[in-house]
Amino acid sequence: MRFLKGARLALAVTVLASTAGAAYAEKAGGILKVYHRGTPPSGSIHEEATTSTNMPFMGVYNNLVLFDQDVAQNSLESIRPELATEWSWDETNTKLTFKLREGVKWHDGEDFRADDVKCTWDRLTGENVSREMRLRKNPRKSWYWNLKGVEINGDYEVTFNLGQPQPSFMAMLASGYSPVYPCHVDSKTMRTAPIGTGPFKFVEMKQNENVTFTKNEDYWNEGYPLLDGIEFTIVRSRSTRVLGFIAGEFDMTFVGDVTPALLRDVNEQAPTAKCDMVATNVSRNLIVNRDAPPFDDPNIRKAMALTIDRNEFVEILTEGLGLVSGAMLPPPPGVWGMPPDVLAEVSGYGDVEANREEARKLMADAGYGPDNRLNVTISTRNIAIYRDPAVILIDHLKEIYIDAELEVIETSNWHATVARKDYQVGMNLTGVGVDDPDVNFFENYACGSQRNYTGYCNEELQKLFVKQSSMTDQEERKKLVWEIDAKLQEDVARPIIFQGVGGTCYQEHVMDFTVPTNSSYNAWRFEDVWLDQ
């Protein structure tokens, strides 16, 4: 706790320093050149769940509120106004009213009004939406389980009506995943040529080539953005794009694209570049098909979770930089995760040898042993970040009489396979858009959620999800979150193996850019980023 206070202080000092510095030195102009790892699936942030869309397209839009782009750690304390100028809760903490900024224009010249806010959340909840406006994919529908509707009070005021108090609702609205969409633009246009109110206007997206944006000259925040535009060049080969960054062809890498091994090359060959190796809030986790025998036996599932040596994964795959965690990202980067001393008490996280001894007993009870080994197939996506941990997992399972063979599934077919439950055991990656328990629990562990891949459903725990969601005392809530997180690991809901890290590098002339430390999805407005050239 003392650490957290210290961290907040350090962050506050950083913000003050950067703001003060910016006042003296900001220069307008120039195109920020960033490399991108692949063509974004679309420009419609609400329809995607990937940084491939968020990083380039966040600058097109505005939110009602946004996580402070100069603060590395997203939290309830770092939320700032954007299209909303102020907000207030009613006495029941179930009505959240926003006063909206006047004089804001969409990129096509139309005025921004309160009905645009209502339309956006109607699209997200699927209420009163025509076919043209309907989101083709709606990956974050589960975020709004508590939203009963959005009321318009005149042209520049809206009220979100919630079923129960939910402090985290603000965190969700502040995410890069929560832009306001225009009422008058259909979903197809939002995918292909999005219209926003943000600091940058979309110019074009050429598959496999580039995505370009130009400065919004009519931006409501006078004097901003400072850049004339942003150009994302799509470079599929990681070796080529990192070499391109080293050669100075790009000002910035794609978020988290630089691995620990590549970071050494960058530091050596481009010593003036700034690089931050931070947690991505993308966990590697085990998914077990609990409907497929023998995995319908909870003891076998538990044994599998107990044999995992998390530190070995971290050492081998991230050169010791990854983080052992539960469902929530642990401190210092995370706000809500269990610290190491608490985590060590959770079943499966303590002494590995003792855990494996317990696991062998469970396997023996289920009828398996050295002479009667269990043969399983571990399925995973055919990408290195999925395959590599799966190989280590196979080695760990051998310790408890399980012989596994790896089945790599073509990447495009992975979610279809998981949705069909056409697997026994899977190695999976889960990215969390906002470092917040509501987002993580309701999206990945709630009964019936589309992204709850294993179909885990614990009614008692579900009640606790709802309970923690309504708690306004953050410290009390954190204790309950830890309790829930520990229970999720003990239930082998989706055992988290470790949290990944990724490096983001930028040239020394890129100013006022802050690498996010607890989410890769919320830091790409680029409004006050400038080039010292």
Partner: protein, 314 residues
């Protein structure tokens, strides 16, 4: 000759029809479709929304109807829409085809430019140090994968010259274009030039032992005349066949080279389109490649008659 060409054209049409059926069927046999893949970036699959999407894209239609819609569109110049970008397929393919065509043309040009003369020199200077050096170079060309060679070239440029010769913006002048495409073309053409070099060498060695070469020599013809007028003309026939085949196979090498040098051509685009199950793009592009291959084959066959007057088509 005319009747031969007409027969070949009819055969080409039949081949292209067969190709269209094969590519159409193969794409549908691969697990997953565009709806699965579009949902992949959302991290889940909603069966109801997936069904809407399939209906929107016409994937719920019977296969024969899907095939007929595609092929009838193709014949009338309507290539359909890319499932991914939702733009007309012609708009997506149009700008990329010239890029790959230029790259492939340059690669083929380099491979012939170096392969043919070095093959002749190697044969003429058989078992001398020149021959050994040329053979080592050709062996390297055969054994170095083009992606690895490409990366080595990029690393060398970054380390020694401080810049990277990759495509980030379209070249504005012919000179820029030549500079940009030369290096990847050399990287991808290296293998083809090695094959041409080795085949020219062995073919030349065989011809050099023929009686008519000895006769030419005894009549006092110069070595240049013997090598290039008499020997090469006779040795070049199998080499022409190989050049034709290599032209067709270049597309494989270009996929990796376009990826390494970040060139937005159709070769890399084809792979991405296959991964996305972007049927309109893949089907039309494969048909284009098939068309090029059959046309190149026809040209090579016709070239035989030009190069060797003994060959007559009837």
């Amino acid at each position: 000759m005319t009747s031969y060409i007409i027969r070949r054209i009819l055969l080409m049409i039949l081949t292209l029809f067969g190709m269209s059926v094969i590519i159409f069927a193969l794409l549908r046999l691969v697990p997953g479709n565009i709806a699965d893949i579009l949902f992949d970036s959302a991290g889940f699959i909603d069966p109801q929304e997936k069904a809407y999407l399939e209906a929107e894209l016409g994937l719920d239609q019977p296969l024969w109807k899907q095939y007929w819609d595609w092929i009838s569109g193709l014949l009338t110049g309507d290539l359909g829409f890319s499932y991914v970008s939702e733009l007309p397929a012609a708009e997506e393919l149009g700008p990329r085809i010239p890029i790959t065509a230029k790259l492939a043309g340059l690669a083929l040009f380099f491979s012939v430019l170096f392969g043919l003369p070095l093959g002749v020199i190697s044969a003429v200077k058989q078992n001398t140090w020149v021959d050994y050096v040329v053979r080592i170079v050709s062996l390297s060309g055969l054994s170095l994968p083009s992606f690895w060679l490409g990366l080595l070239i990029l690393m060398a440029f970054v380390s020694y010259l401080g810049f990277i010769p990759i495509y980030t913006n379209p070249p504005e002048t012919l000179w820029e274009e030549l500079l940009l495409y030369s290096i990847p073309a050399a990287a991808v053409g290296f293998r083809a030039s090695a094959i041409i070099m080795r085949l020219t060498r062995s073919s030349m060695l065989e011809v050099m032992r023929q009686d008519y070469i000895r006769t030419a020599r005894s009549k006092g013809a110069s070595e240049t005349t013997i090598n290039y007028k008499h020997a090469l003309r006779n040795a070049v026939l199998p080499v022409t066949t190989i050049i034709g085949i290599e032209a067709a196979f270049l597309i494989g090498g270009l996929i990796v080279t376009e990826t390494v040098f970040n060139i937005p051509g159709v070769a890399r685009f084809l792979v991405e389109a296959i991964q996305w199950r972007d049927y309109p793009i893949v089907q039309n592009l494969v048909m284009l490649i098939a068309f090029i291959v059959v046309v190149v084959n026809l040209i090579v066959d016709l070239l035989y008659a030009v190069l060797d007057p003994r060959i007559r088509y009837s």
